[in-house]
């Protein structure tokens, strides 16, 4: 019964957004793996990419692009921008709804008038969001796996898994940022707007760092660096970077908890 507690109710609320995003991710993952043999064999994409101006090349994946391998192909098409945008966007959207969405609809008053503390409410909601985000990421991974098997492409699945795992941590960090802003302001649009702006800015800081010295010096401030900087699709999981992303997500979650516990809820 999905109305047993706040966690299950939150999962119930997330079931359709998760289903559609997961389906979209699966289609995307399968499509790229299905596309790769055609592109890789018939077009000399590498020459085309090498001819890009350096700034453009940096934005689509920079030195990570190596189209002679399916990993390099995914590095250009999926991992640098599209995956963080979709998975991060999903986590941010559902995180903004968790408290601020209920607050603007007035249902948070009803929930918190029940004999349940603010902290457990937020913890249960976040548990549901984490589960939904992981589920969407798993859909992508399984589809890439299936696509590779279907086309007979040799792919280092452990390394793809590492990249998807880092993307999930990145998405959760941005979700936690959204949650924290929503907990401070109670405004869904404000939370989404600010967190979205931070995502875009930190993406560019990391992507353009190789060409701009000033950005290179602050690259370590961008969560994107800890996601893609170690080139996980080729090198596997960088545990240190994963730990930094995880710590960032947890810290922002704690900030959200403290803010939510203290704030006056808007009527």
């Amino acid at each position: 019964m999905l109305l047993r507690n706040v966690f299950l109710k939150s999962l119930r609320d997330l079931r359709w957004p998760s289903f559609w995003t997961g389906l979209g991710m699966a289609v995307l993952g399968f499509y790229f793996m299905w596309l790769y043999p055609t592109f890789g064999k018939q077009l000399d994409l590498q020459a085309m990419v090498d001819a890009f101006p350096p700034a453009i090349k940096a934005l689509v994946g920079g030195s990570l692009i190596d189209l002679s391998s399916p990993e390099g192909f995914l590095n250009m098409e999926l991992f640098p921008l599209m995956l963080p945008l979709i998975l991060g966007g999903f986590a941010m959207a559902v995180a903004s709804g968790a408290t601020a969405g209920e607050e603007s609809r007035g249902t948070l008053d009803v929930l918190l008038a029940a004999p349940i503390g603010r902290l457990p409410v937020l913890v249960e909601k976040v548990a549901a969001i984490v589960l939904a985000t992981v589920a969407v990421a798993v859909c992508l991974f399984v589809a890439i796996w299936g696509g590779a098997a279907f086309t007979g492409t040799a792919l280092a699945l452990d390394k793809v898994a590492a990249a998807v795992a880092l993307a999930t941590l990145l998405a959760l960090a941005f979700g936690a940022l959204t949650l924290a802003i929503a907990a401070f302001t109670g405004e869904r649009a404000v939370a989404l707007g600010i967190a979205g702006a931070v995502l875009v800015v930190t993406y560019f800081v990391n992507a353009l760092a190789p060409m701009v010295d000033a950005l290179d010096r602050i690259r370590g401030l961008s969560p994107f660096y800890y996601y893609i900087g170690s080139d996980p699709v080729r090198n596997g999981l960088d545990v240190g970077h994963a730990a930094i992303l995880g710590a960032l997500a947890v810290t922002l979650f704690v900030v959200a908890l403290v803010a939510f516990e203290r704030r006056d809820l808007t009527a």
């Binding site: 249902t107 008053d109 009803v110 029940a114 004999p115 349940i116 503390g117 809820l265 009527a267």
Partner: protein, 307 residues
């Protein structure tokens, strides 16, 4: 464990919430006793909802304190909320759930409610349980809110503007529910901006105006003090002077056989005077909250003048 009748259920001390310039409440000292139905009255924006949300720890006071069942509303909120139910005036519930699902979820959040009680209340109020909440009319939404507020049989029921927009049949059923809570020795705290809608339900009322609790009185006392506007129609022209001379009667206007006036307190002297003439009709205009305020402040000012 039920609080003994007469013991304080809600008590606030200098409870203050400031929001910039005009809203909020100032130095509210309120005591609601176990077993009573307490009406919290005031115009819209006077601070009724702010007070209720402070009692529920949804917002925090700027200063002062509030206790429910003798427990601190912030530090011991979960222990309090187990014994309290709350119906918000806005009726904001999860719109994609059906009535039955909403009541199940709300019951689960409390750790379970006797399903027989939910069934009994739903039948009494003729709630539409199978439709999504957002597709229901306002009246039907309110019925679900009422079931939710009463189903757990809590020691204290807090209702924010429960009567606004209820149809007369539901209003009657609502009044019976409140009576049952009182008969059980449990407590009801309800807010309203319309005194006649709640006066026959309440034992005592507190009146809040511009954030300040101006008076707490037994309903009978309040009515005794209240102003009533009367119109008396006589068969023939009547002399105005005897009417102007009746104690407690003001604003006398006489046009031929029609006398209009305002009476504070007992109508006895006025009715006895009127009985000397042939009375055709008598209208008493319902007392509005504003008029009670006028009476209250009028007396306060007289008091100052005499001192």
């Amino acid at each position: 464990m039920t609080t003994l009748v007469g013991q304080p259920v809600i008590s606030t001390t200098s409870l203050t919430k400031s929001y910039g310039r005009s809203r909020g409440i100032i130095d509210v000292d309120l005591e609601v006793r176990a077993g009573e139905v307490f009406g919290f009255l005031g115009p819209n924006g006077a601070g009724k909802t702010t007070t209720i949300r402070l009692l529920l720890d949804l917002i925090r006071p700027t200063r002062g304190s509030a206790r429910v069942f003798g427990l601190d509303v912030h530090g011991e909120r979960i222990a309090i909320h187990r014994r309290v139910s709350y119906l918000s005036g806005e009726l904001s519930l999860w719109g994609d759930l059906t009535g039955a699902q909403l009541l199940t979820y709300l019951a689960n959040l409390r750790g379970g409610v006797d399903p027989a009680e939910i069934r009994r209340l739903s039948e009494r109020l003729q709630v539409e349980l199978d439709r999504r909440f957002k597709t229901l009319s306002r009246g039907n939404k309110q019925k679900i809110g009422l079931v939710a507020a009463f189903m757990a049989r809590p020691e204290l029921v807090i209702l924010d503007e429960p009567t606004s927009g209820l149809d007369p049949i539901v209003q009657q059923e609502f009044e019976r529910l409140v009576e049952e809570v009182r008969a059980d020795g449990r407590t009801v705290f309800l807010s309203s901006h319309i005194l006649p809608e709640v006066e026959h339900l309440c034992d005592r009322v507190g009146i809040i105006r511009e954030g300040r609790l101006v008076t707490v009185e037994a309903v009978a006392e309040l009515k005794r003090r209240a102003l009533r506007r009367l119109e008396l129609d006589f068969a023939a022209a009547v002399p105005p002077d005897p009417f102007r001379a009746v104690p407690g009667v003001r604003d006398v206007e006489v046009h031929e056989g029609v006398v209009r006036c305002t009476v504070q307190g007992s109508l006895d002297a006025l009715v006895k005077l009127a009985a000397r003439y042939e009375v055709i009709d008598l209208h008493v205009v319902e007392t509005s909250l504003e008029e009670i305020f006028l009476a209250y402040y009028g007396e306060e000012m007289n008091g100052h003048a005499a001192a």
